[in-house]
Symmetry: C2
Subunit: 585 residues, 2 copies
């Protein structure tokens, strides 16, 4: 029995078990394929080209277009593997556009990991201190039990003149020659993972990397991912996948820059609460159902070996979370944009499937998570797609003509979040869409798609439909209702806000004007709105480079009071109100 994968001109035989579907086989072989619904046959995203794949399933018949079927497109989760089947990836699974840079400002260099010269007198009959005490008295470094066995020999062979690497005062390594000490900051997004590798001694950047989260074959969003983690396979695979990915990304940057991964002494991790739990191998099932309880939110530092990461003498710190839906990524963004240190009232928004929102200033912050849904990530949008090559990312009118730009400057394949916001804003500004979200079918910007529905055709067959507008209304309504709930709870007014920080990829790529025009952001504060890049990643990096920032993160997490919107009395009213297109406060 054989099935084959045809890719880049190479045909590879893949082993499989009777009864498996293609998605399962690909996962088992570590081949990444996007499956937002986690293999449930609902989302239609796990598209492959297949030959000899048998009859279409009912789900495929419902989801795939006539053209798709003609082109041999199938859904990986719906195709049972059988002898002789040949599959190949469809073009759409391209490289993602991933934001790795946050606004770092000046990085303070005072990391948890230090490398210092240890020079001591040899013991004598008049100075009989034990080896561990001699080290402690000299450098204030404690020798943990696991390092005691090798200590006496190393000290004597080194003539009591060596280099000590310590983590927060605990010895990690004792070397005759001065060793390197590298650190990695990792931002584990549900979709993408960003890695930053730094030299902990000089503070210099060695390199960065980004890739799609290897867990995504188990589902695109946190809920599907978490559900998958409750199965035996998922429980074993999900933590393993992300840990291996982190090591592999860091290793890649090391190799490219002539460094050894064995010199990595500290890795800081941020991510939403579910990503943090999955990385640590903690159960997430109580986060995804009411009342949404995490196992642990406190900062956690463990040995990489405890996570089976295959790294010796390396500590891993997961930054603190606040609640089930306000995670370490948000806490990291808070310390990165400095709102925990300023007296100016600041609003921080990170828009994704959930929009994490923080309002406040030094010592007093409140936060919430607004369930925006995946519209801004291209899901549930007729021509929607992620921010990958071929996605329309900008839309504008020039001399009455619709203009657009795609990622990678290739022909358009769909619409990503920033393009979606632009397109919707354009229709509002042109009066084609009214306050209630109704699209004027009579407008000259509106034409018909293949199915005969009235749509705003942007180009290359990519369009925006009335249904899409409704999705945008739901999404932006949730975000603004979240903002307004916090404003109400904080007892202030939108006009009191001095700065609005947009964190994350979406916040970085959207047009602030378009976002204000559709009411996703408070229009009257347009002038103080600015992107802060990958603030979560920046926060992870700051915590890596400066140990007091790690403490700041814990303090910040403690002073961020979480508001549960699902039971917040005013939320429903604010949601309905903010679904309209000019409602804003």
């Amino acid at each position: 029995m054989a099935m084959y994968l045809q890719k880049d001109g190479i045909k590879t035989e893949l082993s499989y078990k009777e009864g498996q579907n293609v998605l399962e086989v690909l996962r088992e072989h570590g081949i990444e394929i996007t499956a937002p619904c986690g293999g449930g046959g609902r989302c239609g995203k796990c598209r492959i080209i297949a030959q000899n794949a048998g009859e279409l399933s009912e789900n495929e018949k419902a989801i795939l277009s006539k053209t798709d079927v003609e082109n041999g497109v199938r859904l990986a989760c719906c195709v049972k593997v059988s002898d002789g089947i040949v599959i190949s990836p469809e073009g759409g699974q391209g490289e993602a556009r991933i934001l790795v840079d946050g606004n770092l400002g000046q990085l303070k260099l005072d990391p948890s990991v230090r490398v210092r010269h240890l020079s001591m007198e040899a013991p004598t009959a008049h100075d009989q201190r034990p080896d561990t005490q001699r080290v402690f008295d000299t450098l204030s470094v404690k020798v943990p039990f696991s390092k005691m066995n090798a200590l006496p020999k190393a000290l004597r062979e080194g003539g009591f003149d060596l280099y000590v690497t310590d983590f927060a005062g605990e010895m990690m390594e004792l070397c005759k020659d001065e060793p390197e000490a590298l650190g990695a900051a990792i931002d584990i997004g549900t979709t993408t993972v960003a890695a930053y590798l730094y030299d902990l001694k000089s503070g210099e950047r060695i390199g960065v990397g980004a890739s799609l989260n290897a867990q995504r074959t188990f589902g695109a969003d946190v809920i599907t991912r978490s559900d998958a983690a409750s199965t035996d396979e998922g429980k074993a695979q999900l933590p393993k996948l992300i840990r291996e990915q982190v090591v592999s990304m860091v290793s890649d940057i090391c190799i490219k820059n002539g460094k050894s991964i064995n010199s990595v002494r500290h890795i800081t991790i941020v991510g939403n609460t579910i990503m943090a739990h999955l990385f640590l191998g903690l159960p997430t099932e109580n986060i995804t159902k009411a009342p949404f309880i995490p196992v642990n939110c406190e900062e956690l530092t463990v040995n990489a070996s405890e996570l089976s990461m295959g790294l010796e003498n390396c500590k891993v710190t997961v930054l603190p979370c606040v609640a089930g839906y306000v995670g370490a990524d948000t806490v990291a963004a808070v310390i990165a944009c400095g709102m925990d240190k300023t007296e100016e009232l600041t609003l921080l928004i990170d828009i994704g499937t959930n929009g994490e929102i923080v309002l406040g200033k030094k010592g007093n912050m409140i936060c919430c998570s607004a369930a925006a849904g995946p519209a801004f990530e291209g899901a549930h949008i007729e021509c929607g797609m992620g921010g990958v090559e071929g996605a329309i990312s900008k839309v504008w009118l020039k001399d009455g003509e619709v203009k657009f730009q795609t990622i990678g400057d290739v022909s358009p394949k769909g619409l990503c979040g920033s393009g979606l916001v632009d397109a919707c804003a354009l229709l509002i500004r042109e009066g084609v869409v009214d306050e209630t979200g109704y699209m004027d079918e009579e407008s000259e910007l509106i034409s018909e798609n293949d199915e005969g529905d009235p749509v705003f055709m942007i180009g290359g067959g990519v369009y925006l439909s009335q249904k899409d507008i409704r999705q945008i209304q739901l999404a932006k309504g949730a975000i603004m209702a979240g903002v307004m709930s916090l404003v109400k709870e904080y007892g202030c007014d939108v006009s009191d806000i001095k700065r609005i920080c947009l964190a994350g990829g979406f916040g970085n790529y959207i047009s602030v004007d378009s976002a204000c025009d559709i009411g996703l952001l408070p229009a009257k504060k347009r002038d103080v709105i600015g992107p802060v890049g990958n603030a979560a990643g920046a926060g992870a990096l700051i915590a890596l480079m400066d140990k007091t920032a790690l403490e700041d993160a814990s303090s910040a997490a403690l002073s961020m009071r979480y508001i549960e919107l699902s039971t917040y009395p005013a939320f429903q009213d604010l949601f309905v109100e903010n679904m309209l297109f000019e409602a804003e406060e």
Copy 2:
């Protein structure tokens, strides 16, 4: 090829490798045999009965008597194993007399391990604290990373109503029904190991046990033992042997008392510095050569699993040591006799191969280790033997006739430490031995042994020779020189001492009067001298039952200034002076 062990009427075949000697084979099969010199063919103590064992070696010819040879006695370390050899133990390897009880006084019950009821409200949308925080807020118990995975399920299955066992505020166990919590205190002597098992909830004693140290086949004294630990075999075997013995002793007490070893949550360990190092698997090679440097002297608490002890949810605490030759046993004795808490000047003496001596009071103590040699343990004494069955332990005159008592009231086989001191004191009191240690051969108490040498014949062929008296002089001279060095260094006078505590087996069994008469203890302080039993074991137990006592032990260790006698200017003079029999200050 086969060799056989004949024991208790049973003949067992033992496997062996070409070229091994009997001692090595017995060790490999876990059969304990005393070998003070570690198998060097020098001490003559590893006696066995052997058939078909080939020619006598030169060492055996020099060491064994004619009667021995006739009786088939051989030395295990000198006999190369060959096909058909049959060996059996000689009678002398009997059960040891081991002191397990110290003077405990009233035990305070406040152990590091606590079992408490955890009753919490279930989480709601208005109380979304993470599981770990909920536990901490209720009981001030932190959940370590290793316990987080199982926490959510356990809490919910238990309806948030459970029992938590913690160690110093860190969760060890979470149970639906109230669990047991047992603790063991272990005194690892070079020769003997004592174990005390207690219920940590009620404070009740469950049982005690004692046995010979399983490491003794690698040598009787710490030096030989330490030398053995520097070989590959010893490095692997010595820590393993003692850890397994501790578990096995605790397990035996559990089984006898209907308890489960899996309920043991804490084990406190005391022992001299080398025993502590060997238990922890730390190198001892720098302790046995000048300037005598231990790897670590601080208190160390680790998980039993880190020591491969096969116990889950169990912490092991090794109490602090002071220096290479003042160990955790002495520190434990200090806290047990309370000299770290009293304003009265106290002298603590634990006489063994090394006599550990501590002088001082609350906040200011000095200590030393005097190399007495193994005379008081029966070694280097012609008829010497350990405190086992058949040893003469008491000697006195009644109506001019020599009387004696043996351990186990059986016929005499030799002389143990307390008998030795009695016999020597008797000769001094009767004027048979003068100040210089010269034995008057003309005395009617003196007769001739088989070799025609003049000896004090006690009974059953057991005697004390002139050479033995010289050994006693060396030993008691070292101890008293140690005491007097401390007195000098402390800047006090012997008359200022308010209490003299004799710790350990030897101190417990000897006659104080005899010890004073031979000048092993200061005669003019006779009235304040008293045994404190196994004070080391008692200290281990106090530290088990009362967590503040553990802190006291660390404070005591820090305030015990160590005096290195080998380089102490006055020591040599004091040694020579105190070798005389009435010198004493």
